[in-house]
């Protein structure tokens, strides 16, 4: 197996607050490889966005981060700000959720795209302008010259997200982190943006870390999935396996909570299966499985001992007492 592009080991993130240290991510490990897409799935508050920000060192000063984040073997945690800055944009590109507010309203699109290039590459003048036009064309913007001279508020949400992707990929980084890239967009535009991401990935063979709560997006783009609950990974598998045979009750719940056209026989209506209860607050559960309170298969052992991630089949890991017991049964 080739060395992974991004190797995250036992990542722990806690935020200092008036009430002490609130853990948000509690021991997360995963690997991202070139040309592959890893999706981190979880609901709000599960710690997925924090994970993304911690990789590039953009968490606020109140955050305490532990563990290892290895980029091509190089440790990122503890790296000097100056070095991190060089990596941001050049080695790791980020796309955020809110295209409406992620672009500076008082600067032109051209200004912001050029900056993405100029911060890491020695390019000026006509060459720089040509490159920025090229970048816009690559994300499917039809009239790049005009768009370069416009301001963000003159563009639609979909266009802005395309610009964001262009900015993130400006320096051809080997890693693209997309944090909920389509959540704020219309459904029709979502499909276009996802297709764009996939297309760009195929072109440059970059590794994509996709952060989302939307399983539809996961189905479209991901090769491998990590399911996050309350700051911990509860299941990790290839995307097909996750959808065909979800092992963890939470994953099953997530899948059951989706609607699909044609899922119910004509004339009837199937109730959306919801997962009762709500996710615990940061640092909420001390003992036992964090999901125990909402799990349909809960067992006394679940309340006492926290399940570790254990192999369950060839390319899968699950953190559930019952799942691993059942697998061996």
């Amino acid at each position: 197996m080739t060395a992974p592009l991004l190797d995250v080991q036992e990542l722990r993130v806690a935020f200092a607050s008036a009430a002490g240290l609130a853990p948000v991510v509690q021991g997360l490990s995963f690997r991202l490889e070139r040309g592959r897409t890893l999706a981190i799935v979880g609901e709000s508050g599960s710690g997925k966005s924090v994970t993304a920000l911690s990789i590039v060192g953009l968490l606020p000063a109140t955050a305490k981060v532990d563990g290892h984040i290895l980029l091509d073997g190089r440790e990122l945690l503890g790296l000097a700000e100056r070095d991190l800055r060089q990596l941001r944009g050049a080695a790791i590109g980020l796309v955020f959720q809110e295209p409406m507010t992620s672009l500076n309203p008082v600067l032109t699109i051209g200004d912001q795209v050029r900056e993405a290039v100029a911060l890491h590459q020695r390019m000026t003048g006509a060459l720089l302008r040509a490159r920025s036009m090229e970048l816009l064309v690559e994300v499917g913007i039809a009239a790049p010259a005009r768009v370069l001279g416009q301001y963000p508020h003159q563009l639609s949400g979909g266009m802005r997200q395309r610009v964001m992707i262009a900015i993130a990929l400006a320096c051809d980084p080997p890693i693209l982190i997309a944090d909920e890239p389509t959540t704020a967009l219309d459904v029709t535009v979502q499909a276009q943006i996802l297709a764009l991401i996939r297309q760009r990935q195929e072109r440059s063979n970059c590794g994509v870390l996709l952060i989302t709560h939307d399983l539809g997006v996961v189905a479209e783009l991901a090769d491998r999935v990590v399911v996050l609950y309350a700051g911990r990974a509860v299941e990790e598998a290839d995307v097909a396996d996750i959808f065909d045979r979800p092992a963890h009750p939470y994953t099953r719940g997530l899948l059951g909570a989706r609607t699909t056209i044609g899922a119910a026989p004509a004339g009837t209506r199937r109730r959306l299966a919801e997962i009762p209860g709500s996710a615990p607050q940061a640092g909420g559960v001390a003992r036992g499985c964090a999901f125990a309170g909402r799990c349909p298969n809960v067992h006394p052992r679940c309340l006492e001992v926290r399940p570790e991630l254990r192999p369950n089949g060839e390319r899968r890991q699950v953190a559930c007492h019952l799942a691993t017991a059942v697998a061996f049964a």
């Binding site: 800055r85 980020l94 955020f96 507010t101 672009l103 309203p105 900056e115 508020h153 964001m164 900015i167």
Partner: protein, 313 residues
């Protein structure tokens, strides 16, 4: 954009209207007969009658107001009761010192206040930030003339670096001109700087928490670039607003500290006018300064267009 400018201009008209009505009616707010008051103690009944006619007091109010506005728009603000000189001329004489102090005060305040505010926002809770909070709190508790005396005490009386009072016009040399400006301008700006720094800090903090700052950081932009290229322009609107609004306070401050530093400006002229109940002068000063203030705010409004492209398109 042109439409925006026009709209702003039109909005200023009713404001100017209210100001003129107020200034105009000042004379008629005095207890007693205005003509008598204007004429003074030594006047004969004939003088009083002459003044009454010249003021148009025998004509209906609207006509009086109309006539007054007409004269004002032609640059005629009446004549001083005390000296007999045209008010416009008198104001013109006194303009240089007052404007110099005001301009110097604003420039210093902005040049010092904005960087301090940015520094305070950059390191929240740091030494500059904390000093700033204290400075702002103190600035609300020290009247401007007290600050003037304090500064004069230190720099003029004790250290003898600067002249205690008086004003040297520009034509007498740039050096002496600036030297005579320092203390008054410093007094004005000492208090205004804290305010500007405070607003800058708050506005920058707000801007720095925006998503696009995170995007800039994700691109690999450094702290300086984020502060000045990305954040400052966005933070500028409230700062410019406060500077514009603060001019009113500065004008008030200037009036008072002209007394402290014995500067022959509009402030001292107004104070004299009060002592002599010289209404035309008081009316003229209030009208002109208010109109000037309205104009400055209009310019501030137009500045917004430069700063925020969302207004333009």
């Amino acid at each position: 954009m042109f439409a925006y400018a026009l709209r702003r201009l039109l909005l200023a008209v009713p404001v100017l209207g209210v100001i003129s009505v107020f200034v105009f009616s000042l004379l008629y707010l005095t207890p007693g007969d205005p003509a008598l008051v204007m004429a003074g103690d030594q006047a004969t009944p004939d003088d009083v009658e002459r003044i009454r006619v010249s003021l148009g007091l025998d004509r209906p109010p609207l006509e009086r107001f109309g006539g007054w506005i007409w004269r004002v728009l032609h640059g005629d603000l009446g004549h001083s009761i005390f000296s007999g000189q045209p008010v416009t001329y008198m104001i013109g004489q006194r303009l240089e010192p007052t404007l110099s102090i005001l301009a110097a005060g604003v420039i210093v305040s902005v040049l010092v206040g904005v960087p301090v505010g940015i520094a305070a926002a950059n390191r929240r809770g740091g030494p500059i930030d904390r000093t700033l909070s204290v400075a702002v709190a103190t600035s609300y508790a020290i009247p401007v003339f007290v600050a003037g005396y304090a500064l004069a005490f230190v720099f003029a009386s004790w250290l003898r670096w600067l002249p205690v009072e008086g004003f040297t016009p520009l034509e007498n040399g740039v050096g002496p001109y600036l030297r005579s400006l320092i203390l008054p301008a410093l007094t004005l700006s000492v208090l205004f700087t804290a305010l500007i720094a405070s607003v800058t800090r708050a506005s920058m903090l707000e801007t720095l928490s925006q998503d696009y700052v995170r995007t800039a950081a994700a691109k690999g932009a450094g702290r300086m670039r984020i502060l000045f290229h990305h954040a400052l322009k966005n933070a500028a609107v409230p700062i410019v607003t406060i500077v514009g609004g603060g001019v009113a306070t500065l004008i008030g401050g200037a009036v008072v500290i002209e007394n402290v530093f014995a500067i022959p400006g509009i402030g001292t002229m107004t104070v004299d006018a009060i002592l002599h109940r010289d209404y035309p002068v008081i009316q003229g000063v209030v009208l002109l300064t208010s109109a000037g203030y309205v104009l400055i705010n209009l310019l501030v409004d137009l500045c917004y267009v430069l700063l925020d492209p969302r207004i333009r398109y």
